[in-house]
């Protein structure tokens, strides 16, 4: 741990002198003089980092928090500047945002919609946060996004992969840099076709909640377009820990590919169980049985250990990427904390930078100005190649990584290898694509 890192501490210390924010929080005030919610009036601006600190995603949340602290350090001119140096937009000066020192407050989402909203509300009402970011699940992201819309602050989503976040639940004040279920399907399909051919029978095991469903729908659609059949889609309870009774029927189903639409602990357990049942040694229809995990997370892959070897999936970003942005980020993160960042850390860092940059370019913290600056914004140098923040749904479009569990890892972090960088054009879709239909951005809300 780097608790005794002097340079970092000094930054933190000075950054928190007035931790509670200088401006009087004016959120939800019907009649207020401020132009928008929590308008920063003093020499500093407060951002709210709302991450899971307890519960199953606590480690992911801790990594997100590290990224945020790093981003704040860079914004305030500390450290080596990280991706600020490779970012295509040069609006950020390293003197805070619009000359105001960046301060932050943290909270615990507990990976529960209620708790996440309570935590975000306290940041807005008590600490005067002008932007909320973070989270490690789609349910939480959508719930907090809704809150920020009502409160009139910007929400920069953390790790959220459900189509709904920028689909039917999209909001004008909310932005997502992370990729989504549709993109996973679109990126994986060609790779799967090359590896396993077009004549395959897939069996889906899906976590029984909204994220699982949207991913199942996306992957099934993408693979069926290749000519694969889907023999069964089975929903598994979120609380399940032992997946044996869901894996067993796969054995005699005639399927030769198992798709695990699980994340986190569910993924670790279902994958471990599937391997236990010898699925990987099985030969069905004259073909080797294969397992696919559409959404990979390196932190979680560690829990499944040996079992991930050779299994394909997709991720938003991986630390082994060799572009300048990724290298710069890995270097400054690794130097500070002693290990490489996760994809959750990456997306959170980038979201903070994008927000700061948008404010800088807009010349105002007003959410509506920020929305305008982010909509349709094209940028590069943040690790995913040229990227577009699409105006219609506030979703980032960028390259997607197809990865595979590495056969011979050289270290405990070296679990995945990038198989293919799927170009952006291949994962794009129309804003009114049926999987994303039904939502309405609404108008940006500056509160106040």
């Amino acid at each position: 741990m780097s608790k005794f890192d002097v340079s970092r501490r000094r930054v933190l210390k000075s950054g928190a002198i007035a931790g509670a924010g200088v401006a009087l929080p004016t959120i939800f005030t019907a009649s207020s003089a401020a132009a928008f919610t929590n308008e920063p009036t003093g020499g500093s601006v407060t951002l709210g980092f709302n991450v899971p600190q307890t519960g199953p995603y606590a480690d992911e949340g801790a990594d997100e928090l590290r990224a945020y602290e790093l981003a704040v350090e860079h914004l305030n001119g500390g450290g080596d500047g990280g991706m600020m140096n490779t970012f295509s937009s040069k609006a950020l000066q390293g003197n805070g945002i619009l000359g105001k020192k960046v301060e932050y407050v943290t909270g615990d989402t507990q990976t529960k919609s209620d708790a996440a909203r309570a935590s975000a509300k306290s940041m807005i009402e008590k600490d005067g946060a002008v932007m909320i970011t973070g989270g490690s699940s789609s349910g939480v992201a959508i719930a907090v996004q809704g809150l920020c819309q009502e409160a009139g602050v910007i929400f920069m989503a953390g790790l959220t992969h459900s189509n709904d976040t920028t689909g039917k639940d999209k909001k004008a004040n909310g932005f997502r840099h992370f990729f989504n279920g549709y993109m996973s399907g679109a990126a994986l399909a060609p790779v799967l076709k090359n590896l396993y051919g077009t004549d395959r029978i897939a069996y889906h095991l899906t976590a029984d909640y909204t994220w699982g469903w949207t991913q199942e729908e996306s992957i099934a659609a993408a693979t069926e377009a290749l000519g694969w059949q889907t023999v069964n889609k089975v929903r598994t309870p979120l609380a399940a820990t032992d997946f044996s009774s869901y894996i067993a029927p796969v054995l005699n189903s005639g399927a030769d590919v198992l798709v695990l639409n699980h994340y986190g602990g569910n993924m670790v357990n279902s994958l471990t169980n599937a391997v236990q049942f010898g699925l990987r040694e099985k030969v069905v229809n004259g073909k080797n049985f294969e397992i696919v995990v559409p959404l990979y997370s390196r932190l979680m892959a560690k829990g499944a250990g040996e079992n991930v070897k050779g299994i394909h999936g997709s991720t938003n970003w991986h630390w082994t990427l060799q572009d300048e942005g990724s290298k710069a980020f890995v270097k400054s993160f690794g130097t500070k904390y002693g290990f490489p960042p996760s994809q959750a850390a990456h997306t959170c860092y980038v979201q903070t930078m994008l927000y700061a940059d948008a404010v800088e370019r807009a010349g105002s913290f007003n959410p509506c100005a920020v929305v305008e600056a982010l909509e349709g914004f094209e940028f590069d140098g943040m690790g995913n190649g040229p990227t577009l923040y699409r105006a219609e749904d506030h979703q980032c479009f960028k390259d997607v990584l197809v990865v595979r569990g590495k056969e011979n890892p050289t270290s405990e972090f070296d679990l995945l290898e990038v198989v293919e960088v799927t170009p952006r054009a291949q994962v794009e879709y129309a804003p009114d694509h049926p999987m994303f239909a039904g939502g309405n951005l609404g108008a940006c809300n500056p509160g106040a």
Binding site: D59, D242, N273, Q276, G303, N307, W319, P340
Partner: protein
């Protein structure tokens, strides 16, 4: 047919874990009259005994290898476990490989110790207190224990594989001309559970110690009047119950990677199991454990799920409600225990 047999196996396997935890809970409840919400935490601590042993065996010294680079471009530090250095890569490697079975030996003294300290240090003072207080204090303890584990081991699951030799699958149906492929370790787990359950029952049935404990479970005061120091024996029973939960945890680690909240995941379920079995009944707890395990497995079959959507989400609770409404004191409960 194969599918049904497979699900029965799955059910027995799940049931083994439920039964072992419920058995320990019932031992504690039956002997001490204490509702122990920290029992799930004991299961979790057992699992982390395996993790700890694995870590100890993997303690390594580092050599800097200039030819390889780590992710920041610095020279790579190559780690070699001491065990491998001492015993050679072959023997050392297989010692590491057998970490989970070895952890049984490691866990027994630790769990008995944990149980002893818990009983003497905390639970003892709560015998005369209302059940609500017992629940609150043991729940607090459970939170503390799991947070401490989380502080040292993190929140993510940690892989603790079974030995390679026991990692594959075995065709259980070969003898009867059927194809029932089942993971070896799960078979091991089932027989291990049966062994432990059998051990506990014969211990209670055939030893003087067990006889006194059983008598004490039935009527504590009378046994106390006979001049037998029942408290000391109950303390030992608490240690044994902790060890049972711990061993269930150790052996469970290869089935699912352990994490700090696995105890809470099992806690509610095992309480349902205990109550369905009937408060204070050891055979009831075991029976209910296996019954609920098997029913849960059946409910997750696709044929059943398509008939009643979502049945696998609620089957345990539905069964619990039906059993409690038809049999007032669960399957084998005694009258007057925890009814007020």
């Amino acid at each position: 047919m194969d599918a049904i047999l497979l699900q029965i196996l799955n059910g027995l396997d799940k049931g083994s874990a439920y039964a072992l935890i419920a058995l320990g809970l019932t031992l504690i409840f039956g002997t001490l009259g204490v509702v122990n919400f920290a029992h799930g935490a004991l299961f979790m601590i057992g699992a982390f005994c395996a993790v700890t042993l694995q870590r100890i065996l993997n303690l390594s010294f580092e050599l800097v290898d200039e030819t390889q680079k780590d992710f920041l471009g610095n020279p790579l530090k190559v780690k070699t476990p001491y065990v491998e250095a001492w015993f050679g890569p072959d023997i050392g490697g297989s010692i590491i490989d057998w970490a989970v079975p070895l952890a049984i030996l490691f866990a027994i003294p630790i769990m008995i110790g944990v149980g002893y300290v818990m009983e003497r240090g905390l639970i003892k003072h709560f015998y005369k207190r209302p059940h609500a207080d017992q629940i609150l204090v043991t729940f607090g303890l459970a939170i503390v224990l799991q947070e401490v584990v989380k502080y040292f081991y993190g929140a993510n699951p940690i892989q603790t594989p079974a030995p390679d030799a026991l990692n594959g699958v075995v065709n259980l149906g070969a003898a009867i001309g059927m194809d029932i492929v089942y993971p070896v370790w799960r078979v091991v787990y089932f027989f291990f559970a049966v062994l432990i359950i059998g051990g506990i029952f014969s211990f209670l049935q055939f030893t003087t110690f067990g006889m006194v404990v059983r008598a004490g479970m039935a009527d504590r005061e009378t046994v106390g009047l006979l001049g037998i120091n029942i408290d000391r024996r109950f303390t030992i029973m608490f240690g044994i119950a902790a060890a049972v939960a711990g061993l269930a945890g150790v052996m469970y680690t290869p089935i699912n990677s352990p994490n700090y909240h696995m105890g809470m995941d099992f806690l509610v379920l095992s309480f349902v199991v205990v109550v369905v079995g009937g408060m204070g009944s050891l055979p009831g707890a075991v029976l209910a454990g296996f019954l609920l395990g098997v029913l849960e497995s059946f409910a997750s079959m696709n044929e059943i799920k398509s008939l009643i959507p979502g049945i696998d989400q609620i089957i345990i609770y539905v069964v619990a409600i039906i059993i409690l409404l038809t049999r007032p004191r669960g399957l084998m409960g005694r009258k007057g225990v925890m009814e007020d």
